[in-house]
């Protein structure tokens, strides 16, 4: 495909001022999302996934700053005027939040929450918006949509609410949907339904999707590419299959090993990742995972690796990457991998 990626995030930084210091929640992230592609972002709590999503959406908390570029269909949306922003956010890029119970206004009926965006951004009338709303609800599999429109959020079950959230996000037919942990608050069986739904609409509509989750398994079966985040930076990016089949970053690998799976032998200890995430206000100089990595050497601690290609569509920011199934190009630690 020669087409430009829908979204190009370039060296995005998003820092938040707090009384204890500046939290460098996102610190130089670059990521591409192609047309009709589903990209997963995984990482532990606090790794900066949500802040990244919010930075892309322009939803930064007070006393925060961004730098870098977020190029959406050729325009850098960080530098848009207010008017132009309204054209992008909501209409072109939509977002689904983690907790469907809290991201729907509890005191506003489903109908208005669904239609207000359409009416404002697309300038359509009430009855047309309502008609579309019904279609959307049907599309996301909400039974009896007429009744649901009149409901308040609390009258819906968790799964229903998340469906409504997805319908709201789809309302203006966005090019890109960002789903920030859309199933974390849901039960397994409902999570399953929502994940299936997201994948289906993404495919049917030919939409791009960024699926954020802390659960590697959630991302695994539902994305084309996956980015692993650690302490505000990307650790590993690549085709999902590659990253899961042959994780190269030590962190990715450790995460996978620490996850108890259905075939884990019982009463055997899980593999641990020692230590914890670094304090986001006092991030280390070099590789941010170095302190917890048993393969770290002084270079790791001082310099910190850059994201480098280790195979077709597979990049790792690790000086001592794990062995892959196929022999990777050997990389000089710390150097510019491409030599440009």
């Amino acid at each position: 495909m020669s087409a430009q990626p829908v979204l190009q995030v370039r060296n995005l930084r998003a820092h938040i001022g707090t009384p204890r210091g500046v939290v460098r929640a996102v610190d130089g992230v670059s990521l591409d999302v192609d047309h009709a592609q589903a990209v997963g972002v995984v990482g532990e709590s606090g790794s900066g996934k949500s802040v990244m999503a919010r930075a892309i959406m322009g939803l930064m908390p007070p006393r925060s700053g961004r730098s870098g570029e977020v190029v959406f269909q050729g325009r850098d949306i960080l530098s848009l005027s207010r008017k132009e922003k309204a054209d992008v956010w909501g209409k072109q890029i939509a977002m689904v939040f983690q907790d469907p119970g809290r991201s729907l206004n509890p005191v506003v009926r489903v109908e208005r929450q669904l239609t207000e965006g359409m009416r404002r951004l697309l300038g359509i009338g009430r009855s047309e918006a309502r008609g579309r709303a019904l279609d959307l609800l049907r599309e996301v599999g909400v039974p009896d949509p007429e009744r649901r429109l009149r409901n308040y959020p609390h009258e819906l079950s968790g799964g229903m609410r998340q469906r409504v959230m997805i319908a709201i996000a789809l309302a203006c037919e966005p090019e890109l949907l960002i789903a920030d942990e859309p199933t974390t608050a849901l039960d397994v069986t409902v999570q399953r339904q929502i994940l299936d739904l997201l994948r289906r609409v993404q495919r049917e509509r030919g939409m791009s999707l960024i699926l954020i989750s802390h659960d590697l398994a959630v991302v695994a079966g539902r994305t084309d590419r996956v980015a692993v985040m650690y302490a505000g930076r990307l650790a590993e990016v690549g085709a999902t299959r590659q990253v899961f089949d042959a994780p190269r970053h030590r962190y990715t690998r450790a995460l996978l090993e620490a996850t108890p799976t259905l075939d884990h032998k019982r009463h055997t200890p899980l593999r641990l990742i020692p230590g914890s995430l670094p304090d986001p206000t006092r991030l280390p100089e070099g590789c941010r995972f170095a302190a917890r990595c048993s393969y770290a050497d002084d270079d790791c601690r001082d310099l910190g690796p850059q994201l480098a290609s280790v195979g077709p569509d597979h990049h790792v920011a690790c000086a001592n990457p794990a062995e892959g199934p196929t022999t990777p190009e050997k990389l000089a630690s710390g150097g510019d991998p491409v030599g440009r």
């Binding site: 707090t18 130089g28 670059s30 730098s67 990016v237 990049h315």
Partner: protein
């Protein structure tokens, strides 16, 4: 994904594109600007001068020091803030007036808050019957016109600081009951209360050790506002003729005394008003600051 991403992602690392600037982030001010030290300075001045009034080189608050309604002037300490309708030093009256106003604000505020907090916590924690009784009491106290209470108290007991304290305390109790009850309801539903019960803690221990520390901060935050309101309310009582007996001054009383000459000698009203305002403002600032400082749960 295409080949393009290989190119793109290669450019990705921060070192490759050092041009990208660090975002500019303003840190929230940790201290509340210069106003906080100024507020403390003011409160300390007020409290200290109230306590040490007798030692200060001030004229008596009861005896005229000059012609009535003198505007503020330099030169003599006693005339610095001018004189009141009777020619008494407003400075001296403000300093001594702080005693009554502060006592009214603090004592009525604290006693009211304590009683209200106890009742509210008992109601909120035990629920059911105790709660109905507490709510009934609070409702009845709120439905009781405050004026009646004060007028009646003023006629039963002779007007004095004590009468005033009783009346004003009764007035603020129900608000604290409500506040404490609402907070207790919220906190006692929390898991750590269950955890304490699981440790075998009894009701009293849970109330005192688990719930009280959490209910105190919102009450504390409300207290400065109530204290401010009490200081002002004391003035309204003077206006209604139920204030403390003369010649003892109070800030509210000073305002009330001066109100008829507001057009000719505005200082007789504005100086005490300013004192009240500064104190109210300083109380709020200090309250906010203390909460930030000592309520460690407020950090981050």
């Amino acid at each position: 994904m295409t080949h393009s991403d290989a190119v793109v992602d290669r450019k990705v690392s921060s070192r490759v594109a050092p041009a990208a600037a660090e975002p500019i982030v303003s840190r929230p001010r940790t201290s509340r600007s210069i106003l906080v030290p100024l507020s403390y300075a003011w409160l300390i001045t007020v409290i200290a001068s109230a306590l040490l009034a007798d030692l200060l080189p001030l004229a008596s608050y009861a005896t005229p020091v000059g012609p009535p309604r003198q505007p503020p002037q330099w030169g003599s300490l006693d005339l610095m803030l001018g004189t009141d309708n009777l020619g008494r030093s407003i400075l001296s009256r403000c300093v001594y007036g702080a005693r009554v106003s502060l006592v009214v604000g603090t004592a009525a505020g604290l006693v009211g808050a304590t009683i209200g907090a106890i009742l509210g916590m008992l109601g909120g924690y035990f629920g059911k019957r105790p709660d109905s009784v507490v709510r009934l009491v609070a409702d009845a106290m709120l439905a009781f016109p405050p004026l009646i209470l004060l007028l009646a108290l003023a006629s039963i007991l002779t007007p004095s600081v004590r009468t005033l304290l009783v009346g004003l305390t009764l007035l603020i109790i129900p608000s604290f009951i409500r506040l404490a009850r609402a907070n207790t309801l919220a906190w006692s539903a929390r898991e750590f209360v269950l955890a304490a019960r699981n440790m075998g803690a009894g009701h009293r221990r849970i109330l005192v050790k688990e719930i009280l520390p959490n209910v105190l901060p919102p009450l504390g935050a409300y207290l400065p506002i109530v204290m401010a309101a009490l200081i002002v309310a004391e003035g309204s009582l003077s206006f209604l003729g139920m204030g403390i007996p003369p010649p003892q001054p109070s800030w509210g009383g000073l305002i009330s005394d001066g109100k008829d000459s507001i057009a000719d000698s505005p200082h007789t009203v504005f100086i005490p008003s300013l004192v009240i305002f500064l104190t109210v403002f300083a109380l709020n600032q200090a309250g906010d600051h203390l909460r930030h400082r000592f309520d460690r749960t407020m950090h981050d």
